[in-house]
């Protein structure tokens, strides 16, 4: 067998193994997410005074009231439907009245704002009095969540091992790119080294400066954004470097945001400032916006162009979520609705309908997460359909996108040029892909951002493209599962909404490029090239990271397994 044939077989074998490898990485991250530390047991217990009944307090924030949906349901006619909130903060436990008729009393003193409660203190709502007791006084078993594996299960992969797996994956991509058909040089290796320096630095800072044990969410997003960077090398080296810089900024932003929202009460005090900041950002965009691809959503400062709407996404979720005792207040909700209207309206004026659509979907998710009211959501949806029809009437270029939807092959040289190329080259890649840098889709406009799903499929194979979708699905499942394990509803709502936003955006990107939905021109989280986009995605991940109560727990030597 000659050397060339031997080399060919080696290359092909590598290309077939890469998809399996990608599956392993995403699965390991997922398994790591499912592993939980805290056994399912109550944090504290409420003892009903004058009776033997004990009520377990399971969450960091608990609503007390007569309605069935309350975390602690009190069947007492003198108790309001939504009476008060029992919540835990760094300093201890508090009770906060949320507009009850008869008031909430701690040790027979009326609680006006948040009032501290200590163990053995009495909390009276209506005619019912609870005594706060320690958690371990409650002996009965609790139903565990399906998502989290049982505590006794074997531990998942150590974070550093996960990082080594990811580094190797990126290395394979770099090596493949070095031997691409057209250009053969070692630029990809250089980019690879820069990339790994950044992600390992992040890993060490997270482990040794912030003392965080978990790194699976970060690992997943570093894995995905690394793929994006390595794909860019053979397309445009300059944008690969830009992407690396954006990643670094994103990581810093992520760390900052996780730290910033550490205290849910501080978050609340910054809410208005962030809201005003976001509106100002959008206004600047409206005034100084530069038109690109039919949408005026770019502003240029010197040699840097940014897309402010991407950052507003983060602010939007920030404003939308709130702690349980603030959630019910009308003012909070109205502010949010006004803010939503400004955001969606500004984006519509800019003509960025893809992003406006994402905002609107996120609005629906937040509105539902806060109110639980289907009627409002459906009403908003109907309104949106009407608004959409008006848009189609007045913005012909949007309507044009709809016209080629589902008729790709008839319009392969005109309106559906991009989608037709995506489908053809996706199929051309097959399972192993044609190799990093050997694709043809990279010559099509927006292939590195809007059409990146096709680019991944062509160069790395369809399996890896689907694994990327699976990674985002895993993130969404995780964000949902940690809802009751968050330290505040602020985190659980924001994590769910961030996940929902990312799912929706991925759907628009993947299905838009492959002609299942009309092409709207949004990015695929992490993988698409685009500085603003990747920074925003890292920002969104901060919400999911913060939602996990383990994030802020200090690293300590685990006690011997409790039985």
């Amino acid at each position: 067998m000659n050397f060339q044939a031997f080399l060919d077989i080696a290359v092909v074998a590598l290309r077939f193994l890469m998809p399996i490898y990608a599956v392993v990485i995403v699965y390991q991250c997922y398994a790591s997410m499912r592993r939980h530390r805290r056994p399912e047991k109550p944090l504290v217990t409420l003892q009903v005074k004058g009776a033997k009944q004990k009520v377990p307090v399971l969450f960091w924030e608990n609503s007390i009231g007569r309605s069935k949906g309350s975390d602690i349901c009190v069947l007492d006619p003198s108790v309001s439907r939504e009476h008060c909130v029992l919540l835990r903060r760094q300093e201890g436990w508090f009770v906060s009245d949320i507009g009850s008729k008869s008031g909430t009393f701690v040790n027979e003193k009326k609680a006006r704002d948040r009032t501290r409660v200590l163990i053995d203190d009495e909390i009276r709502v209506g005619n019912t009095t609870f005594i706060l007791k320690r958690g371990d006084e409650y002996k009965e078993g609790l139903r565990p969540s399906w998502f989290f594996s049982k505590a006794s299960n074997k531990g998942s992969l150590q974070p550093y091992k996960l990082m080594i797996l990811i580094t190797l994956f990126h290395l394979f991509m770099a090596v493949e790119a070095c031997f691409s058909n057209e250009v053969k040089d070692f630029m990809p290796l250089m980019i690879f080294v820069c990339l790994e320096v950044i992600i390992w630095a992040f890993f060490f800072v997270s482990s040794f400066v912030f003392n965080r044990i978990n790194f699976e969410i970060e690992a997943l997003m570093l894995f995905l954004s690394g793929i994006g960077v390595m794909l860019l090398v053979r397309q445009d080296v300059r944008s690969a470097f830009v992407q690396l810089i954006a990643m670094t900024v994103g990581i810093v932003f992520f760390c900052f945001l996780v730290k910033f929202i550490e205290n849910p009460d501080r978050v609340n005090s910054w809410r208005l400032a962030i809201m005003i900041g976001a509106v100002v950002l959008l206004l600047i965009n409206l005034v100084f916006g530069r038109v690109q691809n039919g949408a005026a959503n770019w502003i240029t400062i010197g040699s840097v162009s940014v897309q402010p709407s991407e950052f507003v996404k983060v602010a939007y979720i920030f404003v939308g979520a709130a702690a349980l005792d603030k959630l019910q207040t009308k003012r909070n909700f109205i502010e949010f609705i006004i803010f939503s209207a400004i955001c969606v309206g500004a984006l519509a004026i800019m003509g960025d309908f893809g992003t406006a659509l994402i905002f609107f979907a996120t609005f629906l998710i937040i509105a539902f997460m806060r109110s639980g009211d289907f009627k409002t959501v459906i009403l908003a949806l109907v309104g949106a359909v009407f608004a959409g029809l008006i848009v189609l009437k007045f913005k012909p270029y949007v309507a044009e996108r709809f016209s080629s939807w589902g008729h790709v092959w008839e319009n392969a040289q005109t309106t559906a040029y991009q989608q037709a190329r995506v489908l053809t080259y996706t199929a051309s890649g097959g399972i192993p892909g044609v190799g990093v840098g050997n694709g043809y889709l990279k010559y099509v406009a927006a292939s590195e951002s809007d059409l990146v799903f096709g680019l991944v499929s062509e160069e790395m194979g369809v399996v890896i493209a689907f694994v990327i979708a699976a990674a985002i699905i895993a993130l969404a499942f995780y964000s949902r599962a940690i809802t009751t394990r968050s330290r505040s509803t602020f985190y659980s709502i924001s994590a769910c909404c961030a996940a929902g936003l990312m799912i929706f955006q991925s759907a628009l990107n993947i299905f838009g490029a492959t002609d299942i939905l009309p092409l709207t021109g949004v990015t695929l989280p992490f993988v698409s090239a685009g500085g603003s986009s990747i920074i925003a995605c890292f920002g969104l991940m901060a919400f999911i990271k913060a939602a996990d109560e383990r994030t802020y727990a200090a690293k300590r030597i685990r006690p011997k397994e409790e039985v």
């Binding site: 060919d8 290359v11 998710i365 392969a412 199929a427 192993p432 659980s492 492959t514 299942i516």
Partner: protein, 460 residues
């Protein structure tokens, strides 16, 4: 927080919906990928001039129509006429002739599969050869007999369904395709169409076969009737004419002499409904599929026709259109007790649809006539052929022919289209055929020699 947990099921369902979309995409990809890659703009194919690694296409005797040489050049075999004759079956390097094997089966030829993609190194490509049922010599003979006139000739084995000869004209050399510009557009009009599968022509007298079949089924005393032909027959102020007055003829004579007046009267008597029913049973207005190619439909539509137009329809004029392959298939049905065997020309068919058995050739098709009617129509055609045999000398290797000619008026300014359809009655050489020559003049003089040339080559 319990409530938030419950509401978070929304995210759960959104995620499930996304998952469903991804699954849908996967299915779409598996089903469509072979189609999607074979687009003319696909860089992975163009970079190796598309077919440079592709497998050979062989005729029924393993003669290669086309093969790839060591340097990755596509080599088209045979002399100039041979290459022109098989252009429409085999195709050229481009995708211009969409029904050709090199277009339809490009993914098989190049060895594409979703599993391997197009990025495999040259040493590992798994291309495959495609074998056709067509005979290269018969195809050439038929093409030469067409003598540069536009038209088509198809011959197939009505017992097995194998297409033995299929050629279409106008043609060009696939090894040296002409550049078609604004100036020579006219000259090359329709050159990318395979007339056998993608065209339909006014049938003229060959349609009398359908009218006759309808009469046999619906007029019990048709064989006892006689028809007076004075050369012209007026219906609603317009004449239906015969070239000569045939005098008094029986039904069988009317078919053999192709008497327009008699068949106009028969069509008038049968009426719209019965005629439409028989025509549709015999495959008009119906979609046929030949080796994954959608065959152009033949059409028969007399819904809005008046009496005069109905009569013209009954003798294959008015808006009637017939596809050559369908005509051959109809003859195959008559020869085969009323039920055709579906024709095909790709014998090692590897496409996914063929594997699923959806459009495999060679199986029995839908019944066109009852065995009894088929026998009677066969008899009519035999007598028609004998009439020509006796008068004009149609004779090949002692084969018995059953046939019908047609001369279809299309345009007063132009010569009529010539047709010749029929089959041979032989266990060794069971061939059904259809020939059409545009502006050929009389069927007997223009179309018959083409069929004779092809069958002669096949028999010898």
């Amino acid at each position: 927080m319990k409530r938030i947990m419950q509401r978070s099921y929304l995210i759960f369902f959104i995620t499930l919906a996304f998952f469903a979309g991804v699954a849908f995409l996967a299915v779409k990809l598996v089903l469509g990928s072979a189609d999607w890659v074979s687009k003319p703009y696909n860089g992975h194919m163009a970079s190796s001039s598309g077919l440079s690694q592709a497998g050979s296409i062989l005729d029924r005797n393993d003669n290669a129509f086309v093969e790839s040489d060591k340097d990755g050049k596509r080599k088209y075999n045979g002399d100039y006429d041979t290459r022109c004759s098989y252009l429409h079956i085999v195709g050229d390097n481009s995708l211009n002739i969409s029904t050709a094997v090199q277009s339809m089966y490009r993914t098989e030829l190049t060895g594409y599969s979703l599993l391997f993609g197009l990025g495999m190194p040259k040493s590992l490509k798994t291309n495959s050869d495609i074998k056709l049922t067509v005979d290269i010599d018969a195809t050439k003979a038929a093409y030469q007999a067409l003598d540069g006139k536009k038209g088509a000739c198809v011959v197939y084995n009505y017992k097995t369904g194998e297409i033995l000869c299929s050629t279409s004209s106008l043609s060009y050399d696939p090894a040296d395709p002409p550049e078609i510009t604004k100036e020579n557009e006219e000259e090359y009009s329709g050159v990318y169409l395979d007339n056998v599968v993608s065209s339909a022509y006014t049938p003229g007298s060959i349609f009398k076969t359908v009218t006759a079949a309808c009469a046999i089924e619906n007029i019990p005393d048709i064989y006892e009737r006689t028809f007076d032909c004075s050369g012209a027959y007026e219906i609603e102020g317009d004449d239906i004419t015969c070239e000569d007055a045939h005098g008094t003829v029986t039904f069988e004579e009317a078919y053999a002499y192709s008497c327009n007046v008699a068949f106009a009267k028969i069509a008038q008597e049968l009426g719209t409904e019965k005629l439409t029913k028989t025509a549709e049973e015999m495959g008009f207005n119906k979609q046929f599929v030949m080796s994954n190619i959608n065959v152009q439909k033949s059409s028969f539509d007399v819904k809005e026709a008046n009496d005069n137009q109905l009569a013209w329809s009954g003798i294959g004029q008015h808006t009637d259109l017939a596809n050559p392959l369908h005509m051959a298939m109809m003859c195959g049905a008559i020869a085969n007790d009323g039920t055709p065997v579906v024709p095909y020309h790709v014998s090692n068919n590897t496409s996914i649809f063929a594997k699923l058995g959806l459009t495999k050739g060679g199986q029995t098709g839908e019944k066109m006539l009852s065995p009894d009617t088929a026998e009677k129509v066969k008899d009519l055609m035999r007598k028609a052929a004998n009439y020509y045999y006796n008068v004009r000398g149609l004779n090949i290797a002692g084969l018995d022919f059953c046939a019908k000619t047609g001369t279809a008026e299309v345009d007063k300014e132009k010569q009529p289209n010539a047709w010749f359809i029929g089959f041979t009655e032989s266990d060794e050489h069971p061939y059904a055929f259809a020939v059409v020559v545009e502006e050929g003049g009389y069927g007997i003089s223009a179309a018959t020699p083409v069929a004779v040339a092809a069958i002669n080559e096949l028999v010898n």
